[in-house]
């Protein structure tokens, strides 16, 4: 299995916020914390596009590089997770992240920040799989149940794809070859390295441009 990634198809996203709601509900995310959110450009004008944004689980994650307490780790599947027992809520990861993924709950008065919270790719954290402790700190561990992230599985238009790189790029290539446009994948070059912003070609022999 290749590494896990997200693709958001801007041609298909209808800004329904189903992914945002699914994530909130699945993990009982508190008020003020949005692990996933929708960004709309050219709102109300021709060419309007919406994109669902969360942690992209970058290949070379800047949050990992700047963390002063080294609380981040990467799983075998390429998912970037963190240990909340170590996090000191300094906010460095928030400044480093190009997607604004790290979120901080308001833990008290005077803007005091709590421990960082972000998308876990529905893979929980460093606690025993599917335990109450894991759920309380990181939310549900769907991956350990053999399921994909709730946001992607809930997406009504299948604009948001999640899963193993080879599978989701194959699905995306089929779409691009059928509709003949929209090969740009938002955020891919930033998250997974230069030269992967477009996925073109047919499903069988497509190339990454």
């Amino acid at each position: 299995m290749a590494r896990m990634k997200f693709i958001c198809d801007a041609e298909r996203c209808i800004e329904c916020n189903g992914c945002v709601t699914a994530c909130k509900n699945e993990h009982e995310v508190p008020w003020g914390v949005n692990r996933r959110r929708l960004v709309t450009v050219n709102d109300g004008k021709p060419g309007e596009r919406s994109i669902s944004v969360a942690c992209m689980h970058c290949s070379d994650a800047p949050c990992m590089a700047v963390c002063p307490v080294d609380c981040f780790y990467k799983t075998e599947e390429g998912i970037v997770l963190h240990d909340k027992d170590l996090c000191i809520g300094c906010g460095y990861c928030f400044y480093a992240c190009p997607f604004g993924a790290p979120q901080f709950p308001q833990a008290g008065a005077f803007g005091l920040r709590g421990k960082m919270d972000k998308c876990t790719y529905c893979a929980g954290g460093p606690e025993a799989n599917n335990t109450a402790e894991e759920y309380k700190k990181y939310g549900r561990n769907r991956l350990a149940e053999g399921k994909l992230p709730a946001c992607a599985e809930m997406c009504s238009t299948k604009a948001l794809l999640a899963g193993d790189h080879d599978s989701i790029t194959s699905i995306y290539k089929t779409r691009v070859s059928r509709r003949g446009k929209g090969e740009e994948v938002w955020g891919w070059a930033m998250a997974y390295g230069q030269g992967t912003e477009k996925i073109t070609g047919d499903a069988k022999g497509g190339t990454k441009a």
Binding site: Y73, D83, L143, G146
Partner: protein
Amino acid sequence: MKRIFATMTGVAATALLAGGCTEIDQTAKTQKVYAGKKDERPYDGKTFGDDKAKWQQALAERNRGQNEYLRTEPAKK
């Protein structure tokens, strides 16, 4: 005496100015190592019983569910 003092001041000022142009290397000198608790693998535990292939099969099934072309068009025989 005055001349020596002026020369020394000049040298010191030049060194200070040149020092301002030096670029300090910002790359980390040490490898970042995760300092937290060890995590379990997703297929560890009673659901998949440490069977990676079974877990991958379950995920592949879910992945196929994301491709609506497979649902709307019958498979070619």
